[in-house]
Subunit: 217 residues, 2 copies
Amino acid sequence: MSDHGPQPPSFDEAFRQSFEQLLIWRRDVRRFRRDPVDAGLIERLIALSCLAPSVGNAQPWRFVTVADPARRQAVRASFLDCNADALNDYQGERAKLYAGLKLSGLDDAPVHLAVFSDHGTEAGHGLGRKTMPQTMDFSVVCAVYSFWLAARMHGLGVGWVSILDPEAVRLALEVPAVWSLVAYLCVGLPVEDNELPELVRFGWQDREAFESVLFRR
Amino acid sequence: MSDHGPQPPSFDEAFRQSFEQLLIWRRDVRRFRRDPVDAGLIERLIALSCLAPSVGNAQPWRFVTVADPARRQAVRASFLDCNADALNDYQGERAKLYAGLKLSGLDDAPVHLAVFSDHGTEAGHGLGRKTMPQTMDFSVVCAVYSFWLAARMHGLGVGWVSILDPEAVRLALEVPAVWSLVAYLCVGLPVEDNELPELVRFGWQDREAFESVLFRR
């Protein structure tokens, strides 16, 4: 370890326990209070997100705050279209269950944040992505998840809306064609906190047993 | 908020500052000490990672610890092939710089962990991924990044190796064809801690200005 420069932090048991609580209570929030959120806080959270790992240090994340009502309306229209189409894939009880789920907080969330992956960036000089080009988008996902955790730490809820036509969102936001939508986030104060995902509580999908996801070779 | 059940945590300023330090000092580690790592700790970190968000709560992450020397050798061979091939894409000073980078810790890291996305799982019942099927892999990335942060919190370094042929890795580990490789992780005690990414320190790619990644619409 270098004998100059800042010293690395150590993380004590109290921090570890709190971090576990952060993971446990994170949630994908779809029910928001309409109270405004400080724009400076959102920017600080985005700045923290830029500390995420990225392939070749390409930092392909592009954050777009969406405030314009017409643009928001176009995103909402895409959600409604895609959600109606998705409902058609289910039958019987499963269809009833799907129709009863609240799958986005687009109407109430005071902050909308679209996050894109810039496939055209020269940053990173291609390092690490020749055989796995999807690592560009994966880098952006790490930034999105950083934002999510940091937001929750400040009492804000985040909901990731994926029931969207990515091209419709891109057009609505007038961003370059070489940007690929990774996530459309609703952000705001949550109406409630829960330890369990809504999809578990409402009977859509329970948690998997640990044994079914861990393998040894 | 429910008046029964566990109460949600709040995160104080001390936690927030430590969490920021965790993001700041995370690093993609390629230089490991060979000291063994407690297998129970790795399992606990994987269990924490399963708290990550997933599309439709599909939980498509499949964690494979790789201990068998022949399998590790096959992965290392794929890295060497792909890295040599990647080097051919660079010329002049950039090629010299690339050749001097250490891009994996496969030789020394005591723990190898492959993480796949199970495209065949029925969990989640397709919810949320009709228009953006890549959200299955994105869910797995959130689990990988959870593992990374939790490992760093315990003093462990993680390095994400993407200079691999995903199909070669899948075959080496004999996992189902419907599993897609998301990340191959090296895990162990880091030789050193650093505030800055190695790719910044060695002049491959500097950090981007905040202004170049934030947009308003």
